[in-house]
């Protein structure tokens, strides 16, 4: 796991993590462990001392009912599952099965109508708006199915947005946005507006934005959905690389081949977990697979 992920275990201690991150950029020798290996794929992934092994994501009986006028749609009907630190999990299911709904709850973008969601041990329902904003900003990188880029802003301005809310200064924001865009292979498109980019390129801008704060948990809703097979391969390699650096990755797909890149597949149907929701607790399962890009089973 990355040094950053170690801090997810103690969210209350993470006041002003962005300031820490900014400081560490200018002072790599500091004992501060956050962000030291930001975007550095070759760095080892040591266990952080004091980190209590356990679930990053812990859902118990989570339900989500949408009310639209007279209709009620039960999108999730009691989902119980756990995802551990450093796992690479694929969520599969037919269209309309509740995958996106589940992902939005995992990303703290929506709240369940019943059940509890513990993020690194903390019950999300007890968090204040400010705490939630910080979780979304620093601890989770979310890749939306519809990208959700701001059309009026250049690619790099879209990527820097989370850093703006992290309170990082302008020069550092630009530098880190450029790094993140380089990671997704878009160095030559930094000054393009989303409208001037292909669907695949927009997807990669969205991924760069999710990476830029160096979050411990990356949630991607069909990240390969708009990509051709070559670009999809590249995206999977990137996610595999990020995973190899210790990040916990959850992605939604309905492509069995994409799911193969993950180390566990959770199947969902009509708002219920079919199988794979038990998490990496079962004996014999490799919770932290070899940190090599080619280490897919």
């Amino acid at each position: 796991m990355t040094p950053t992920s170690g801090t997810t275990g103690a969210s209350s201690d993470r006041r002003g993590p962005h300031a820490d991150g900014a400081a560490s950029r200018t002072d790599d020798a500091a004992p501060d462990d956050t962000g030291q290996h930001r975007l550095d794929l070759t760095a080892p992934t040591p266990m952080v001392p004091g980190w209590r092994p356990g679930s990053v994501i812990d859902l118990a009986g989570v339900e989500k009912v949408y009310r639209t006028g007279a209709f009620e749609v039960a999108a999730l009907r009691g989902v119980t599952m756990t995802i551990d630190e450093g796992e690479f999990v694929a969520i599969m299911g037919p269209s309309g099965s509740g995958k996106s709904t589940l992902m939005h709850i995992l990303g703290c973008l929506d709240s369940p109508t019943a059940g509890t969601y513990r993020l690194a041990g903390d019950d999300v329902s007890t968090m204040t708006e400010v705490e939630l904003a910080e979780v979304r900003n620093a601890r989770i990188g979310f890749v939306f199915q519809q990208f959700n880029l701001l059309a009026s802003m250049d690619a790099w301005r879209n990527v820097e947005l989370p850093l703006v809310y992290a309170g990082i200064d302008r020069a550092a924001r630009r530098e880190r946005s450029m790094e993140a865009l380089a990671r997704v292979g878009l160095s030559d498109r930094v000054d393009h507006r989303p409208g001037e980019l292909s669907g695949g390129q927009q997807q990669r801008v969205a991924v760069a934005r999710a990476l830029v704060t160096d979050p411990a948990l990356i949630l991607a809703d069909e990240p390969t959905g708009n990509l051709d097979s070559v670009a999809a391969r590249g995206m999977l390699d990137l996610l595999t690389e990020l995973h190899a650096n210790g990040r916990t990755i959850v992605l939604i797909t309905h492509d069995a081949e994409v799911a193969l890149a993950a180390h566990r597949t959770i199947r969902i149907r009509d708002g219920n977990i079919q199988d794979g929701g038990g998490g990496g607790v079962s004996p014999g399962r490799d919770r932290r697979p070899a940190a090599t890009p080619g280490g897919r089973p």
């Binding site: 400010v130 900003n137 979310f142 701001l150 989370p162």
Partner: protein, 408 residues
């Protein structure tokens, strides 16, 4: 996220949405300029009346013969009766009888044809005493005014007002020249200084002669005067002067009941009070129109703001998803709304002031610059912008990010 960054984000958003920002600013601008101009027009009219009153003298009383209402309730012949005499004027001038009266000028005026060389000009010829100059607050530009000796000698001298002098003598110096007044040659001894335009009387077009001369030559040798102008020692003693003149004249005319008075005393305020109240009504009316235009402008701004925020709820959702707290969103929209309100307010005030300076050249009505209207309308514009820009934004900021993102 600090205020500077918020300010930058807010400013950036106003620039990004140029058309929308422009329309908002335009709405505020027009509303404010309209308020400034309409209120200014009303106040300008009021100021004009006020300055006319003061130019006529706030300590001036005019005594005319006849009563405005006879004892039988039938309106008498105001100004046509011949009940005022030189004796009345002399009595009022006494400081022991009337200590609050500063000066008394009996006048008799008649319209005559004046001839100088080949120029002829018809104007009002006023017969009066030397006190007239101070009572009417006039000054002599050239030569001298008529003197007590002129009055005593029934001297054939005249003092011309500036326009009259110009019409008869062009730009030549008229002092010492002879002018024929209704068939009687008189020597011009002075010229009055111009007092400028006034919509009620033209004080720059008249000829002044000794009252005795006027009685001899122009109105047929009687002791009767047309009216008596009285000035009080100050504007504060005006009512004292009024009572003294009233009591003295009643006594002189042997009238016991004031209801039977054969004369009328009026102050200039009374003469103009009707005009003033009409102008006050005008101001209220114009103020109402201004208020309505601000309201309409405000509704326009409100509409643009609401649409703008609604269109941007997705943006709000995204910003929240990326880590913005509701208060940061609120601040961003507060900055945007304030900037639009301020820019619109300042431009509107500028346009209003420009109009207040330029328009009077075309419409001949004065427009007053009212600081209250300027500050008030800018404050209202900013408040409208904030209320209708920030309120919906802060509501959207409380939504779950995904609900905001999904909104259409």
């Amino acid at each position: 996220m600090n205020w500077l960054e918020t300010l930058r984000t807010g400013l950036e958003a106003t620039v990004t949405h140029r058309l929308r920002s422009g329309l908002t600013v335009l709405g505020i601008l027009i509303g404010i300029a309209a308020v400034i101009l309409t209120v200014g027009l009303g106040e300008g009219a009021q100021n004009q009346v006020a300055s006319e009153i003061s130019s006529l003298g706030s300590n001036l009383l005019t005594i005319t013969p006849g009563s405005s209402t006879s004892s039988t309730g039938v309106r008498g012949g105001l100004g046509t009766a011949t009940t005022l005499t030189m004796g009345d004027a002399t009595a009022l001038a006494s400081h022991t009888v009337a200590p609050d009266i500063a000066a008394v000028a009996p006048t008799t005026s008649v319209s005559e044809v004046l001839t100088a060389g080949t120029s002829t000009w018809t104007t009002s010829v006023v017969g009066t005493s030397p006190a007239w100059l101070s009572v009417r607050d006039e000054t002599v530009a050239e030569g001298r005014f008529i003197t007590t000796n002129d009055v005593a000698d029934h001297a054939m001298v005249t003092v011309l007002a500036s326009t009259t002098s110009e019409e008869l003598f062009g730009f030549r110096d008229p002092v010492g020249q002879t002018v024929d007044v209704g068939g009687t040659p008189m020597t011009v001894v002075g010229v009055l200084a111009s007092v400028g335009d006034s919509s009620t009387t033209n004080e720059d077009d008249q000829a002044v002669v000794p009252i005795t001369t006027a009685q001899d030559v122009l109105s047929g040798g009687s002791d009767v005067v047309q009216d008596i102008l009285v000035s009080s020692t100050s504007s504060g003693t005006l009512s004292g002067a009024y009572q003294e003149a009233d009591a003295e004249l009643l006594a002189l005319h042997h009238i016991t009941s004031p209801a039977n008075a054969d004369f009328t005393i009026e102050s200039q305020q009374q003469v103009l009070s009707t005009a003033t109240s009409v102008d006050k009504t005008l101001t209220v009316l114009l103020g109402g129109i201004a208020g309505i235009s601000l309201l309409v402008g405000g509704i326009g701004v409100m509409n643009i703001m609401l649409v703008s925020v609604t269109e941007r709820i997705r943006e709000i959702g995204l910003r929240k998803a990326l880590g913005a707290t509701p208060s940061i969103i609120r601040r961003q929209f507060l900055v945007e709304a304030s900037v639009l309100g301020l820019v619109g307010g300042v431009l509107g005030a500028g346009l209003g002031l420009l109009g207040a300076v330029v328009l009077p050249h075309f419409i001949s009505d004065p427009i007053a610059i009212s600081p209250v209207a300027i500050v008030g309308s800018i404050v209202i514009a900013i408040c409208i912008g904030i209320l209708f820009g920030v309120y919906p934004a802060s509501r959207a900021a409380r939504l779950a990010p995904i609900d905001a993102l999904r909104s259409e």
